[in-house]
């Protein structure tokens, strides 16, 4: 009786062994309290420095301060602004509740911008991923000079998006561009992006795809090289054509990469293309290329309709959050070869 009580008290006095919640092992585990099972855990896990109590806070301080000032503060301001409306001269703001959102969804301009964004994002994502998949499959066939081709294809990715926008703008210029000159008499299409909304949309989509192509190809190639060659060879030995081997062996095994790239391209086309639109079309002609992110900026900073702009920012925030959660949820599941 006495002995057992002594034992438990001595056990209690021993340093705490594991912090299971954080899956970390506290350093004092090297003392004899660890059982053999726990020792195994120690081998594969991290050490934790216990000496300094304030050091972690000091290390984290700069990043946390910047995050709060430039991330949380603007986000909260946006949320608050979305519930208010500012008078045209900006002298008074008053609370309107969810009216900003209601007006937004009822307005034909916003609906049109939604459709424009949908068309733009779908084209950039689907076409971009499909083209780069084809290029990566081809590139994977070539053993010699693969790195040279890959570097050459990655080249446009080094050009900033607004700059490549200006490049394509020049190439598709109705009077001295090379593209209308080349296609004259072949295709009956009005390449005048200054007046023709469809041409402006084509210009923006082409630029966005062209700039991101290298990124997609690089990821696809990495994914393809991770697939063991033996699987494809086995299929070929069994009499499958190479197209069939691609369809039934390569593509299913590549699906995690494809999914990752689809999400990344959606995010890219929704948010990163702001600079492109701003440099090339400014949402015009008419509102033909006014995607959601550009409309939020235009309504807020040019038209000074802060309440509506903040409401649009909030909608975009929700969209971005959903995409991120969706992606993280999928990344956890991995295909094993």
């Amino acid at each position: 009786m006495m002995q057992s009580r002594e034992l438990t008290s001595s056990l209690r006095n021993l340093p705490k062994c594991t912090n299971r919640r954080n899956q970390h092992t506290v350093w004092s585990l090297s003392k004899p309290c660890a059982t053999s099972k726990e020792r195994v855990i120690v081998m594969s896990q991290q050490v934790v420095f216990k000496k300094n109590k304030w050091l972690p806070y000091i290390l984290l301080a700069p990043q946390i301060v910047i995050t709060i000032v430039f991330f949380f503060w603007p986000a909260i301001t946006s949320l608050r602004l979305a519930l208010y409306r500012t008078t045209p001269f900006g002298d008074r703001t008053f609370f309107v509740g969810s009216q900003n959102f209601q007006r937004l969804f009822a307005s034909p301009q916003y609906q049109r911008s939604l459709i424009t964004t949908l068309m733009f994002s779908a084209s950039v994502t689907l076409l971009g991923v499909a083209i780069s998949l084809c290029i990566a499959l081809l590139l994977n066939q070539a053993v010699r000079g693969r790195t040279v081709y890959r570097t050459a294809i990655l080249w446009p990715y080094g050009v900033a998006l607004p700059i490549s926008g200006i490049l394509w703008m020049f190439m598709m210029h109705p009077t001295f561009g090379i593209v209308p000159y080349f296609f004259e008499g072949i295709i009956d299409f009005n390449f005048d992006w200054i007046l023709n909304g469809n041409a402006a949309m084509l210009l923006v989509i082409l630029t966005a795809i062209w700039t991101n192509l290298g990124y997609n190809v690089a990821f696809f190639l990495a994914g393809l090289q991770a697939i063991p060659k033996s699987l494809q060879e086995a299929a070929l030995v069994d009499g499958a054509t190479s197209l069939k081997a691609i369809r039934y062996i390569t593509l299913p095994l590549l699906s995690p990469t494809t999914f990752f790239l689809l999400v990344m391209n959606v995010v890219y086309s929704l948010f990163d293309t702001f600079g492109l639109i701003d440099a090339v079309t400014k949402g015009g002609p008419g509102n033909a290329t006014e995607i959601l992110i550009y409309k939020a900026y235009k309504d807020g900073i040019i038209s000074l309709n802060l309440g509506s702009s903040a409401a649009q920012s909030v909608i975009l925030m929700v969209l971005a959050t959903l995409l991120t959660v969706f992606q993280f949820g999928f990344i956890e599941r991995k295909v094993s070869y």
């Binding site: 506290v26 350093w27 090297s30 896990q45 991290q46 050490v47 934790v48 420095f49 216990k50 300094n52 050091l55 972690p56 806070y57 290390l59 984290l60 700069p62 990043q63 946390i64 910047i66 995050t67 430039f70 949380f72 603007p74 301001t77 946006s78 081809l138 590139l139 066939q141 070539a142 000079g145 081709y149 080249w155 446009p156 080094g158 900033a160 998006l161 490549s164 490049l167 020049f170 190439m171 001295f176 561009g177 000159y181 062209w210 995010v267 948010f271 990163d272 702001f274 600079g275 992110i293 939020a296 900026y297 807020g300 900073i301 903040a310 920012s313 975009l316 925030m317 959050t321 991120t324």
Partner: protein, 229 residues
Amino acid sequence: MSQKTAKQTNVLGGLQLNKVNWEKLYIHLLLITIVLIIGFPLIYAFAISTQSLQEVVGRPTLRISNNLLGNYREAWVRSDLGRLLFNSIFVALTSTIGKITMAILSAFAIVFFNFRFKSLAFWTIFITLMLPVPVRIVSTYQVISDLGWLNSYVGLTVPLMASATGTFFFRQFYRTIPGQTTETSWGRPHEVSVVCLTSQFMGQYCRLVCGLVHLRLESILVATHDYSH
């Protein structure tokens, strides 16, 4: 016996090589075409940059003309390119160095210490992954304006320094360091060894970052540009 099989596979390999050669040639031809199509805008841009104004507005050609130096000199002088280049490099370097420093420090704190607000700190940093800069551009502009940082390098660089992606990279790296590696001769985990490993990883990380860093700062440029002008 084994020699014989080796010979057989060799013959087979040789046969395949002969058969495949044409296929390889087609693939290479196709790839070269693709590379030319993809590289065309850049090649065209270079060709145009060597032509005179008359040639540019005339019939479009890919001809390399002799106006290269004149054009570049004029661009350099007229748009004050030296200043612009300095701005770009300065802003990119400052924000990258700040970003990497903060990422190393905070990832170090998150991985190697147990403290009270650990998970809170973790989520505070990683939730920023969800909101790209353009989404909160208007209110970020307002914050920069409230701080009086408009039209300044501080306003351009500091908001970019807190990077969840960088912290994430370093966290993943620190988690791969096994406990034994950080034990030094006196048998206790030692910060110095972590620092050594970090500097090793920095080499790899820098190569990655250099490949990926672009001067894609245009959205923040918009934010700090004073629109009242």
